[in-house]
Each structure stands twice: as C-alpha cells, then as structure tokens.
C-alpha cells in the first residue's frame, strides 16, 4: 500500500537537504581549502542517492502490483476528499520523477564543476538546484490542480533565482522578464482554477474529469481551460508566449540553463500533458487537438526560424528549446498510445540533449567562444567538447542511431496515426531546417580556420557530465526498449481513458 509519505518522500528529501545545504557547504568552505569540490560532490550525490532509493521503492511498489492503474493517495478521505491535497501515482508520474532524478543529477554535478570553475563555491546555488528538482518531482506526483499549481510555482520561483545567479545586467533583466511572465501566468491559472472549482466543487483530477464528463454546457469550461492553458502555455514558452525563454536561458549561467531546460521545461510539458490528456481527454470532454496542432506547428517553425538567424550559440540553443516544445506538442496532440510513449521518451531525450548542448556551450563560453564566428576552428582547439556538441546537434536533427531520431520518429508516426499527417509533414520540414543550422555550426567548428586564440584552459572534469549524457544518447538511440519498457503501461492506460 502506497501512503502519502511514500509519494512525498523524494520531495521531502530534496527540500530538507536543500535547506541543510546552506550551513553545510558554508561549514565545508570554512574548514577546508583543498577538497571543497569533492565534499560538495559527495553531499549532492548523497542527496540524490537518498532520493533515488525513495523513488525506486515507490516504483517497485507500484510496478509490483498485478495491474498498473491510476493510484490516488490523499491526505484526507471521505467528505474532505474534495478539498484535500491529493497525489496521483501512475507510470507517467513515476517515470517523470525518474527522469528528473537522472537528468537533474547530471546537471547538478555539472553545476558543481561549472560554478567552481568560473566563480567561487556557492551554497545557495546548490540549495536552489535541489529545491527545483524537489518541487518538480512533487508537481509530477500531484493529484489535484491546486497541489500541482503550488509546487509548480515553487519550481518557478527557484528557477528565477537560478537565472539571476550571476547578477549581471542581462541576467537581472532576463529574470525580471521571467518573473513578470510567471506572475501573469499564475494569475491566469488561478482564475481558471477558480472557475473550474465553481463548476465542479473540487480540483481533484478525477473529480474534475468525472464532473466534466456529464457537463452539458461547456462554454464556461472552455473559458476556464483557456485561462489555465494560457497560464501554463506562458510557462512552457509556447509561441507567442515564448519571449522570455531565449533571454532567460542565454543570460543564465550555463549550468542553470542546462538544469532548467532538462528539468523545468520537461516538467512544464508534463503539466500540459497531464491536464490535456488525462483531464480534458479528447474527444470525450473537450475537442482541443486541432487548436493545439496549430500552436505546435507555429511553435516549432518560429523556434527554428529564429534559431537559424542567431549568431550567439547559446541563444541558438535556447531557440532550439522552443522548437523542441513544438515537437512535444505534436506528440501531445496525437492522443494515441504511441504518442504517449513517444512523448515520454522525448521528455527524457529532449531534456538530455538540450542539457548536453548547454553544458558544452558553457564550456565553450568559458574558453571565450560565444558567437558562431568565434566557433571557427573550435574542432581543433577543443576536440572532445566539439565532438560531443556535434553528437548533440546530430541527435537534435534526428540522425540515427542517436536517441533524438527515435524520439522524432515516434512523435511523427503518432501524428500520422491520429490523422494529422500535415503536422507530421510540418515537423519533418522543420527537421530539415534544424539540420541546416546545426550543420552550419558544425561547419564553423570543423571547416573554418581558427581566428581567436583560446582564453584559458578548460578543466577536464567539466567534460565528465556531458560525456555521461553522450553515452546515454547513443545507448538509448540504439536500444530504446530500455525506456519504452518503463512507459509501456502508460500507453496501455490510454485505452481506459478514451473509452
């Protein structure tokens, strides 16, 4: 039997440890000079190990059941159920927490190396990273709209600090932009939630779903969900609400961009997936796929077109994140078992690839290479970093046998399967566009002669986390069954939703 404590254990571990990190690291800094990085690393690994144990326990308990169904856990039962915080355990939420854990861990290690390489050791930074991961984990286990909202806001707040961390002019401006967008978004979401509560009398996923199933007049429902979708759309950076993202990810330190793109971004896709597919299941409750398909097409096209025009490489990767949102929406739009599997696979792979690119761009930036011109001849100057970046680019472009290919393949096939082949065609053309600007970057790295001398040497250990991801991208590309096995129950559950 899974209790509330089981579900919340990873979050509690992350949060408590996050708070404990500040005095602990301060202590380490005071006591030792030589092994600061090592101690920090050990501490962060301990936190993640503890969280991993709790998630694995939860996972084995959940998958140990004879049949994987949706498991609701709430603080209070009976009459209070409608107002109680509720948690939902299903294969999607277990999977998402695993994704955050793995990608978050790699990003945090990189963060420790990176921040140490460029600035002095900072306890607050690590604390915030842990806090972010803890809150998105809780958000993915939420079983009602309010709990989801609260944890989601926590993650937004901590991401804001991750962006501003360096306190440069750009990052202050970017985080201001982000903060304003988040506040507006929360306003929208809260307003939408209040309408839903008025309609249904509860915010619990299943209560809302069942009430809406029998609802006759759906006008108010459309209004409510327009607000909620806009709110979360802003935080996901769906075009036309995307303007904050490139600024934020470019101004933030690369380790933050890596964590944000790999964890927070994927969490925001998860929120959209959960609300649209699990609550507003089309066509039973609301027929939204066509509208979302249009947004998805616009988002990926705009993302790719802007990426094509960028000369700052970090900004280019930020626009790739926007294009990625478009691809994810394609998968959400096709409400099929294959779509869900492709989507969840994309969450992991897309997150890993963007995180990988940000990490590598961070290394290049440290060496003083920022614009495309600077990248001329980088392949000779920083061979290992360049090869890893090339692999990330090829994975983005959907070149097999890298994982990005399988992700795109499943997403597009799902789109064809649900009779929106035009979206698949748009997606495929976008992939070509993407290949074009990635090849341009590869062209700069390998074909041009170096112009700028390197500013400083790069510590080798910075390359360890990226290469973990490179290995994962190759392995998952050749043998995707590793992940597909985990998400297969989610695909099977789709049947019970739409029937």
């Amino acid at each position: 039997m899974i209790s509330v404590l089981d579900v919340l254990a990873p979050t509690i571990i992350f949060t408590v440890c996050s708070v404990a990190t500040v005095p602990l690291i301060a202590f380490i800094r005071k006591k030792t000079r030589s092994h600061q990085g090592l101690f920090t690393l050990a501490w962060i690994s301990t936190v993640f190990a503890a969280a991993a144990i709790s998630i694995v326990r939860l996972g084995t308990e959940y998958y140990g059941q004879p049949q994987q169904s949706f498991l609701n856990v709430s603080l209070a039962g009976g009459n209070l159920l409608s107002v109680s915080s509720a948690f939902l355990v299903d294969s999607v939420s277990v999977y998402m927490s695993t994704v955050y854990l793995i990608v978050g861990f790699v990003s945090c290690i990189y963060g420790v190396f990176y921040v140490k390489a460029s600035e002095r050791l900072s306890e607050r930074y690590y604390a915030l990273m842990l806090m972010t991961i803890g809150s998105v984990t809780a958000a993915s286990f939420s079983g009602d709209l309010l709990t989801l909202f609260i944890f989601w806001e926590v993650s937004a707040a901590s991401s804001c600090f991750l962006i501003v961390y360096r306190k440069t002019r750009d990052s202050l401006e970017a985080s201001m932009k982000f903060l304003i967008m988040v506040v507006i978004a929360s306003g929208f979401v809260v307003y939408g939630l209040s309408i839903v509560y008025g309609l249904v009398g509860s915010l619990n996923f299943w209560a809302v779903r069942e009430a809406l199933m029998v609802l006759e007049n759906k006008q108010l429902l459309v209004v409510a969900f327009a607000f909620i979708a806009t709110g979360y759309g802003i935080e996901t950076a769906i075009v036309p609400f995307h303007m904050w993202l490139p600024d934020a990810y470019t101004a933030a330190p690369s380790s933050s961009s890596a964590l944000l793109s790999a964890v927070v971004d994927q969490a925001s896709y998860y929120v959209i997936l959960r609300i649209l597919i699990y609550i507003l299941t089309p066509p039973l409750i609301l027929d939204w796929p066509y509208a979302l398909a249009i947004f998805s097409a616009i988002t990926m096209t705009i993302g790719n077109l802007f990426a094509l025009a960028q000369t700052n490489v970090k900004r280019l990767i930020s626009y790739v994140c926007i294009a990625d949102i478009g691809y994810n929406l394609v998968a959400i739009t096709s409400v099929t078992p294959l779509g869900i599997m492709g989507n969840l696979y994309f969450f992991l792979v897309g997150g890993m690839t963007t995180a990988l690119s940000f990490m590598l761009v961070g290394i290049f930036n440290n060496a003083g290479l920022k614009t495309l011109e600077d990248f001329s001849g980088a392949g000779l100057k920083l061979p290992a970093t360049s090869i890893a970046l090339t692999i990330a680019m090829l994975s983005f472009s959907g070149v097999p046998p890298l994982a990005g290919f399988m992700a795109k393949y499943m997403v597009f096939t799902a789109a064809i399967e649900s009779k929106i082949a035009w979206l698949a065609v748009v997606g495929v053309l976008n992939t070509v566009l993407q290949t074009a600007y990635f090849l341009r970057l590869i062209h700069y790295m390998y074909a041009k002669t170096p112009k700028k001398p390197m500013e400083k040497k790069i510590p080798r250990k910075l390359l360890a986390p990226p290469y973990l991801l490179v290995a994962a991208i190759i392995i998952l590309g050749v043998y995707p069954a590793l992940i597909l096995g985990l998400t297969y129950p989610a695909a099977q559950q789709m049947g019970s939703l739409t029937a």
Partner: protein, 489 residues
C-alpha cells in the same frame, strides 16, 4: 553460419575504433584493418549463399523493440547479396587505394575509422528488412561521408559536404514519413510483412506513401532535378570516397526504390489510377536524367565532374529499368546494372584520382598523352570507360542490353514504352561520345604534361582488381544474373 549477418555489421562497427587506434601508429595498418574487415564480411556473406540458392532468402531475427512491434530482422536474397558484395569490393579497393593515394594527407586514422563506419551503414542498408533499421543505416551512410568529404576533400570540401548532407537528409525525412505511415497502416516495420498487410489495408493515402518514399530515395539516387548535390560531392571528395559515392551510395537509392517503393508499397496501390502513371513518371525522369547527365558530361572539362555527371546519366538508366516493373528482365537488368555500374564507375573514379595525383591537374584540356606515361592507369581507365559506354565485352553492356530488351518487351503491352526505349538507345550514343572525348583528351591527344609517372603499387593493385571484375562481370555474368533473377516481387 549462424549470426553471419549480425556479425557482418558488428565487425566493421568494432573495427572503427581499432582502425582509429592503429592509425595512430601507422596509416597503412588502419587501411589494412578496413580491407580485412571487408574481406571477412565478404566471407560471412558467402556462407549464406547456399541457403539463398535453396530457399531464396536467408533470414536472421533478433529481439529489439517489442513495444513497437519491431524485431531486428536481417536478411539476404539475391539482390541484397549482389549489392552487398559490390559494396564490400569497393570498400576493399578504396582502402587499398587509399594507402598510397591518401598518404600525404593528415590525421588519416579518423578517415579509416569513418570508412569502417560507412561499411556498417552501407552493408546494413542492403541486408535489413526492418524499415526502421533500414533508416538507421540509411542515415549512417551520411555522417561518415560528410566528414570524409569535408575533412579530406578538395577546394571547399565542407561546402560540398554540406550540400550533400542537407539534400540527402531532406530526402531521408520523407522516407521517415513513409515509414511512419506504413507502421500506422500495418502495425509492423518489416518490409515483407508490410507488403502482405498493406494489400488488405486499402487506404487512400497509399499513393502519398509511395510518393514520399520515392522522392526521398530519388534524392539519394540523384535523379534530375534532385541531382544538384552530386557533382560537387563527387568531384570534391577524395577519389576512393568518390568511388564509393558513385559506386554504392547513390545506388542504395535505386535499391531502396526497388525494395521499398516498388517491392513493398507498389503492389497495394490501385494499378490503373496510380500504379501505371507512377511508373510512367519514373520512366520520364529516368530518360531526362540519362540525357541531362550525358549532355553535361560532354560539356564538362573537369576530369572528376565528367565522371560525376556520367553517374547521373547512369542512374537514369537504372530508373528506366526499374520503371519496367514487373518485367523481370528489366528488373534483373536494372539491378545488374547497379552491380556493373558500381564496379565500373568505382574504377573510373580511381583512375581519375590516380591521374589527378600524378599530374596535379584536373582540367582535361591540360592533359593529353598520358597513355604512354601511365600505361596501367590508361588501360584500367579504358576498361572502365568502355564499360560505362556500354561496349561489349565489358560489364555494363550486359545490363544495358537486358534493360533495353525489356523496354521493347514492355512496349508490347504498353505502347508508352516504345518512345522512351528508343530515346534511351540514343542516350547510349551520347555516353559513347563523352567517354571517347574523355579518353582522347586525357590519354591520346598530344602531350601537354611533361612529367607523370605510373601510379604507386597499392593504387595499381586496387585498380587492377576492379578492372578484372569489370571484365569478369562482362564475360561471365551468369552467376550474378541467376542470383538476381531468383528474387521475385
């Protein structure tokens, strides 16, 4: 032998790092690794021949992605085997040729590692029946090729490589759409299962699926008007790579049209509404490519670009042969032309590379009289060139002959084919014309180059092997033709 096909993919895969490591010590060792790998692969494929002769097809199946209803199926039949054999023969020759040819270039360990990876992609394309894995290998051809052209080519190599990558990748994504659609309609990714399931699927999008596949493959095949990448890529690549590009990579496009477009999807489309117009379109594009390639080759003066344009022309022949589907002589001719053209064009590119290396000149107007100075290269070049022109007793004569008689045969049932067949015969005259011009200007005309020596030993060995194959395939085609015609669609 059990697992022969799996091994034939795994060995070059693991040989890539070995080639890289041994290349750090000696480039020749790395080349030997690649050559050895291709010989081992040839042996592994040879072990399957008896099964093919008995059952028509040799199949291996492995566990891959059960959630997507996909097993990892490798197979060889007569056509696959012939294509794989040509591939390995060319990889072998390219590796041996590179020992001398590439000797002056830098960081060759990467080059040989890429060559080994390319072997995986090329052989994989021909021996898998899983569409997804087919696509894996299809794209795996791209990356090593991109880096080989870019890293070790001439002039602005990365520019040519970029064009190559973008064009063929853009084509490939259409293939991906097609694969997605096939999976949606049938729930399987296996070509042969899909073929039988599609027949009952009866869907109105099959025409689009067929078009998506064919367009995607035609880009790789460099059919006019999707040929723009070819002249640059083929002429700027190092000669051994040009030989592989012209000899196998573009032919993989033709193979894929036959296997996937025509073999898997085509039988299920409505014959009169979509089927025969589709074939007619293929015919027209075939004829146009044949003429375009021949005319441009006549006007070109760059030695490698002439050969490159001749490849476009010959892919036109092959497409014409394929459009005679399901006439078995036409298909046998088309596939055999892939074999013979692969070997002949590979040889022609190697001789062109040998001339360029020894004279440091690319323009054929500045050459002349090389026959006396480079007799061996001249002889090999003559064999290759006359095979390309379709002169007996060299290899391409047999295959072109088969295509033409089948064209006439097809004209008997569908009078549309008379005119294209006649036009194709005219095109061979132009082939002969550019070949004679090429040979005259390079080898026979009064000498303009003072000093030129015969090519070094490994290059001559490599050219010799291919020249021998060109003659062998011309005078004794029966073995391959039996293998190829044993496959029915």
């Amino acid at each position: 032998m059990q697992m022969a096909l799996l091994l034939s993919l795994l060995i070059p895969c693991f040989a890539a790092p070995i080639a890289y490591a041994s290349g750090k010590k000696s480039y020749k060792a790395a080349a030997l690794v690649v050559a050895l790998v291709s010989v081992i692969d040839l042996y592994l494929l040879y072990t399957t021949v008896s099964t093919i002769q008995a059952d028509g097809r040799y199949v291996e199946s492995y566990y891959w992605m059960p959630m997507l209803g996909s097993t990892f199926t490798l197979f060889v039949d007569g056509i696959s085997l012939s294509m794989a054999v040509v591939t390995l023969a060319l990889i072998f020759s390219a590796a041996v040729f590179s020992m001398n040819y590439m000797a002056e270039k830098k960081s060759l360990s990467g080059y040989y590692a890429m060559l080994s990876l390319l072997t995986v992609g090329l052989v994989g394309v021909f021996i898998t029946s899983n569409l997804l894995f087919f696509y894996f290998c299809w794209e795996l051809m791209l990356i090593p090729t991109y880096f080989i052209i870019g890293g070790w080519g001439y002039k602005e190599p990365y520019h040519a490589a970029f064009k190559f990558f973008i064009f063929t990748h853009a084509g490939a994504v259409f293939v991906l759409l097609g694969i997605g659609a096939v999976y949606m309609l049938t729930g399987t990714l296996d070509m042969f299962q899909a073929q039988s399931l599609l027949a009952t699927a009866s869907s109105d999008i099959l025409g689009w699926v067929l078009a998506a596949f064919t367009v995607g493959f035609a880009v790789k095949m460099a059919i006019v008007p999707a040929h723009m990448w070819l002249p640059d890529a083929h002429s700027e690549a190092p000669a051994p790579m040009s030989a592989i590009l012209s000899g196998v990579i573009i032919e993989a496009g033709a193979y894929a049209i036959l296997r996937v477009s025509l073999g898997t999807v085509f039988p299920s489309v409505p014959a009169t509404e979509i089927g025969s117009p589709f074939l007619h379109v293929l015919t027209i594009f075939g004829v146009v490519s044949a003429f375009y390639g021949a005319f441009t080759a006549l006007a070109e003066t760059d030695i490698k670009r002439i050969v490159a344009y001749s490849s476009i022309s010959h892919m036109g022949y092959v497409l014409f042969g394929l459009s005679l589907f399901p006439f078995s002589e036409g298909l046998t001719g088309a596939v055999y032309h892939l074999v013979t053209h692969g070997v002949s064009k590979g040889l022609l590119f190697l001789t062109a590379g040998s001339i360029m290396m020894q004279t440091k000149v690319r323009n054929i107007d500045e050459m002349g009289g090389l026959a006396g100075k480079m007799p061996f290269t001249a002889t090999s070049s003559a064999i290759a060139a006359f095979s390309i022109a379709g002169a007996p007793p060299f290899a391409c004569f047999i295959s072109e002959f088969l295509i033409f008689i089948s064209g006439v045969q097809a004209g008997g049932t569908d009078s549309f084919y008379f005119l294209p067949t006649a036009l194709m015969l005219v095109a061979t005259v132009f082939s002969l014309a550019y070949v004679l011009r090429f040979f005259w200007k390079v080898f026979l005309e009064s000498p303009k180059i003072k000093e030129a020596k015969e090519a070094p030993i490994f290059m001559t060995v490599s050219m010799g092997i291919l020249a021998f194959l060109v003659i062998l395939l011309g005078v004794w085609p029966q073995h391959f033709i039996d293998l190829i015609s044993s496959v029915s669609f």
